[in-house]
């Protein structure tokens, strides 16, 4: 068996597409994680989620609108009780 034949045979040990994808994903995930700057990590901590904020504002407004008359009515009842 010649040198070239063995070099050619060795290509059969190349990673399959699935193996290659797994290694690529793990390496890039690790590098992405360690490339994140301190500033980016702090920004992530105070990140504003638009959907979360919208939900919070809606729930708050609904609560004010519904609770205010209820509180007023409850106050009336309490005041009516001798």
């Amino acid at each position: 068996m010649t040198d070239d034949e063995l070099l050619d045979s060795w290509t059969s040990l190349d990673p399959t597409n699935g193996q290659r994808r797994r290694v690529d994903a793990r390496v890039s995930a690790w590098l992405d994680a360690h490339d994140t700057s301190i500033a980016a990590e702090w920004l992530e901590l105070v990140r504003v989620s638009p959907f979360g904020s919208l939900t919070l504002a809606t729930v708050g407004a609904t609560a004010i609108v519904t609770v205010t008359p209820l509180a007023w009515f409850a106050g009336m009842l309490v005041g009516a009780v001798p």
């Binding site: 068996m1 070099l7 045979s9 399959t16 597409n17 699935g18 994903a25 890039s28 995930a29 690790w30």
Partner: protein, 218 residues
């Protein structure tokens, strides 16, 4: 050394997925670049160019995998060693000193060999009949892993499993990483002439096994 456990991050990271998709789509930068271009990429990567670092990765990932696969007993070990070795190399580029007699691939391969040796010391997995662990279902459906290639791979791994550990390492460095006898001698710490002798002897043994098992010789 970057512990393998810390690398088991979900593959669902947006950049990770994008990178994985791109690299497999582009065929992993299959064209081997000349050494001057590699050294230029090393300089750019040292300066913080993530694109250059990515190209260095794609230039060497298959080479490292096929080299350590010849030394190790399973695909899973080869995957782990490949990722550990490449991460060590890519995060230690500042320590790389270009030399006239050693290419960048030689440096990366040395890291891979040291990583594989550490793994050997930690545990010695059982040798299976074909020298392989079963692949996952996803890999079985891989179109690139056709029948002939899988058969050739199985025969080669079985033949390699019969070689002594040092000889297996030397032939893997020669045929997996395409290193010459001097480069291999520098890595494993023996004379180039001794490397040539081992290669010659191993070539005969592998040739006999591959010929027999592939049906060429009785």
């Amino acid at each position: 050394m970057i512990p393998t456990a810390t690398l088991r991050l979900p593959a669902a990271w947006p950049l990770g997925m994008l990178f994985a998709a791109l690299s497999s789509r582009l065929g992993g930068d299959a064209e081997r670049l000349p050494e001057d271009d590699i050294l230029r990429l090393v300089e750019q990567a040292r300066a913080g160019d993530t694109g250059a670092r990515r190209r260095l990765y794609t230039q060497h990932v298959d080479l490292v995998y096929r080299t350590v696969r010849g030394m190790l007993r399973s695909d899973a070990d080869a995957e782990d060693v490949t990722q550990d070795a490449l991460l060590t190399a890519l995060t230690s580029l500042d320590r790389y000193r270009p030399r006239a007699d050693a290419r960048f691939a030689t440096w990366v391969t040395t890291i891979a060999l040291n990583t594989a040796r550490r793994r050997f010391r930690r545990r010695r997995p059982e040798i299976t009949a074909t020298g392989e662990l079963p692949e996952s279902a996803g890999d079985a459906a891989d179109p690139a892993d056709d029948f002939d290639r899988a058969r050739q791979r199985r025969v080669l791994l079985a033949a390699l499993a019969e070689l002594p550990e040092r000889d297996r390492t030397i032939v893997s460095l020669r045929y997996g990483a395409d290193l010459n006898a001097s480069e291999i001698g520098a890595i494993v710490g023996i004379e180039a002439a001794a490397v040539r002798k081992i290669l010659e002897r191993s070539r005969v043994r592998l040739g006999a096994r591959l010929g027999t098992r592939s049906g060429g010789q009785p």
